[in-house]
């Protein structure tokens, strides 16, 4: 951006370091409150005035979360989210490429239809999908979530990926000859590496959408509870188990953080590619 062109501004207290500090504060302050409270004792969680530091440090909220079956919930969530994300990225890349680059007729109506599907309120489709799931005997199975999640997240992924495909160099594609039987291989080997930031973006959004979805998980998969459904049974009537919620939340950030770290290279290089290219 523009600021870059001003040389010799304060080396350390410049726009971006001060700005980054403010951004970090913006994100961290509420997060700190969550993490700190997850380590408070049961009675200190609701102490008034609020405790700024958890003294004494207690892991009882974590014990409570695990006693309520949190290990199962996180496993179920990981299975559902990973399977869905893989499927979405595979199908979405193919479709996104076709809709972005191939001279097909009727692309525009398809894109708009996809958009409509992705915005249709889940609430309205749950009763009918429930009957379908019951009829085919899928209730309380992983596929009862993986398939609807795939279908409802694909349109968004296709939109994102298509926009990335629109931007890649035509000459590269021509030299690689998308043609005949080798088309799929060419796509995977030549074209896909160029859109890794797009794949990452679509992947992260799909993953988090699966990770946080509640209504379908509640209705179709009560036997294999994902995290949001599992924590809905924490506590009891007239209680808000903040400690256990926060402990569960801290723990459920871990897989997402791991995902980002694994793909860190893709994120960072993807997001800096343009600047390097010059």
């Amino acid at each position: 951006m523009s600021m870059r062109i001003h040389r010799g501004w304060g080396r350390y207290f410049n726009f971006s370091t001060v700005g980054s500090f403010i951004i970090a504060l913006f994100v961290i302050v509420p997060l700190y409150w969550m993490v700190a409270s997850s380590f408070k004792t049961q009675s200190n969680v609701s102490a008034s005035p609020a405790q700024l530091f958890p003294v004494p440090v207690s892991t009882s909220s974590y014990t409570a979360a695990f006693n309520d079956g949190f290990a199962h919930f996180i496993l179920n969530s990981v299975i559902v989210a990973v399977c869905t994300t893989t499927l979405v990225l595979f199908l979405g890349t193919l479709a996104g490429y076709a809709l972005g680059r191939m001279p097909m007729r009727g692309k525009y109506p398809i894109m708009v239809t996809l958009l409509m599907i992705s915005v249709f309120p889940t609430i309205a489709v749950v009763p009918a999908l429930y009957v379908v799931m019951r009829t085919i005997g899928w209730l309380n199975t992983y596929q009862a979530l993986i398939f609807p999640y795939t279908a409802f997240n694909l349109p968004f992924a296709i939109w994102i990926l298509r926009n990335y495909f629109l931007g890649i160099s035509r000459s590269m594609e021509e030299s690689a000859r998308i043609d005949g039987a080798g088309a799929l291989r060419t796509l995977v080997q030549v074209i896909v590496p160029q859109v890794t930031p797009g794949i990452f973006t679509a992947g992260v959004f799909t993953f988090t959408a699966c990770w946080t979805e509640f209504l379908m998980a509640l209705s179709f998969d009560f036997g294999k509870k994902t995290i949001p459904v599992g924590i809905a049974s924490f506590g009891a009537q007239f209680t808000v188990p903040y400690g256990a919620y926060f402990a569960a939340s801290v723990l459920s950030v871990i897989p997402v953080a791991a995902l980002v770290l694994i793909f860190r290279k893709a994120v960072v290089s993807g997001l800096t590619a343009g600047a390097v290219k010059g």
Partner: protein
């Protein structure tokens, strides 16, 4: 805090040991007494132990930790009925989420869960929409005689009984004995006295808030409103639950009083966002002198580490000056319902019969559970009455049911609590809120649109 830790449950039990002997001993003796009653049943069922039927019981967590009442009931039942296995399915703790899930599954034709624990306000709606089995078709009239008066009527819709009362709940007034004693105050018997005592204690700086209760815009607001409104002598629906008979003048009186609680400083302005947990927290943290809450609050307020521990008294709710004491307490609690698509109705009925019977009800009444039994024989047992202070005053309280026999109850309730809430917040004057409530309740009762 609101989560009851094992240690805390332990101390609650310990404090009660003085009266009831050891918690384990009390439970064991209860089981032995009840075992005699339940014996013929047990013999009958062991005869055909070859084929085991598995039924699913859908129930949200009742206590936060320590022994699980649901599992304790299941174990006792399976011991008496070896050929029936009960699988527990833990339902969401939010009543609305719980209901939404049941509506989706049962209207979608699910055969499981077989038995579900549902709110006492569901019979009208679940009966009207075929979401629960009509128990009166399967059980003789005599079966329902075991329940305390009024509870079966509450579980009925159009003369049919849809739910078997499992445990009861009701509003109580909790107060800080130490604060009242220091100022030589007596336990308030009128709302007016409660208000002036609360103001006095706040002005003296002894507490931050005087009186805390549930004023948020949710079902609990309807519970609290019903108590004030019934104390004015008002009624919500006619005898057949088909028409609103809300009396605007009486509603205005009730609403003007709750608004004055806030304006006088007796209650905090934030009470309009308080649900049970917030009210409980304020009281436990020593911030409030008076609390309106349910049965569970006695143990919570006396839990180890809480500022209110050991200083809490419980009494029936007050009423308005000029009315006869005590005031009304709204009925809460949970019933057992059967999924109309269940394949094992006779096993379902056996299970319900057991946990609403003397043995099952003794289990829930005794520590560490301390739920109010619905079975009259257990309730009136002097040993049960002696278990804890809320039980001891049960027979002195006066109960009022919410107008849940209307199949449109959720809309009726919303009309009540949203206007109750507006009046507390002062965004509508008491009279404006009262007339809005009257017209909205009238519409809600007569129309099934939901919008």
């Amino acid at each position: 805090m609101k989560r009851t830790t094992p240690e805390r449950r332990g101390t609650i039990a310990m404090s009660r040991r003085l009266k009831a002997g050891s918690a384990v001993g009390a439970l064991a003796s209860a089981l032995m007494v009840a075992g005699v009653v339940g014996a013929p049943n047990a013999f009958a069922s062991t005869r055909h132990a070859s084929k085991v039927t598995t039924i699913t019981w859908w129930a949200s967590p009742i206590s936060t930790s320590g022994p699980d009442l649901r599992l304790t009931e299941i174990n006792a039942f399976e011991k008496a009925n070896p050929n029936i296995h009960v699988k527990l399915e833990t339902a969401p703790t939010s009543t609305d989420t719980n209901r939404a899930d049941l509506v989706t599954t049962i209207s979608g034709g699910a055969k499981s869960p077989d038995v579900f624990m549902g709110d006492v306000i569901w019979p009208g709606q679940f009966g009207a929409h075929n979401l629960a089995l009509d128990l009166s078709k399967y059980e003789p009239k005599s079966f329902f005689n075991r329940f305390a008066p009024g509870l079966v009527a509450g579980a009925s819709y159009k003369g049919q009984v849809y739910g078997a009362p499992f445990f009861q709940d009701q509003g109580f007034l909790y107060y800080r004995k130490d604060l009242l004693a220091a100022d030589h105050m007596s336990v308030p018997t009128t709302w007016e006295q409660l208000k002036s005592d609360a103001v006095t204690l706040v002005k003296q700086g002894k507490v931050k808030y005087g009186f805390v209760w549930e004023g948020a815009s949710y079902e609990g607001g309807t519970c609290d409103f019903m108590e004030y409104y019934a104390d004015t002598g008002g009624q919500v629906l006619n005898a057949t639950d088909t028409k609103s008979v809300l009396n605007t003048a009486k509603v205005t009186k009730a609403l003007a009083f709750v608004r004055s609680l806030v304006t006088s400083g007796a209650s905090p302005a934030a009470v309009d966002t308080f649900q049970e947990p917030q009210a409980m927290d304020a009281f436990q943290n020593g911030q409030a002198a008076f609390l309106r809450n349910w049965d569970y609050a006695y143990a919570e307020a006396n839990a180890k580490g809480m500022k209110s521990a050991g200083k809490v008294g419980v009494a029936p709710l007050p009423t308005f000056a000029g009315q006869s004491y005590p005031g009304y307490s709204t009925i809460g609690g949970w019933n057992l319902y059967i999924n109309p698509h269940s394949r094992f109705i006779s096993a379902d009925l056996k299970f319900i019969n057991f946990i609403t019977g003397v043995q099952g009800q003794n289990i829930e009444a005794h520590p560490p559970f301390s739920e109010i039994p619905t079975n009259q024989a257990v309730r009136s047992d002097p040993k049960v009455k002696a278990l804890n202070p809320p039980f001891a005053i049960l027979s002195k309280t006066r109960l009022i049911a919410r107008p849940a026999q209307s199949p449109n109850y959720p809309k009726v309730s919303q009309a009540i609590f949203s206007n109750f809430n507006s009046a507390i917040a002062g965004s509508k004057s008491p009279s404006a809120a009262a007339s809005a409530m009257a017209s909205q309740v009238a519409t809600a009762v007569s129309s099934s649109s939901g919008l």
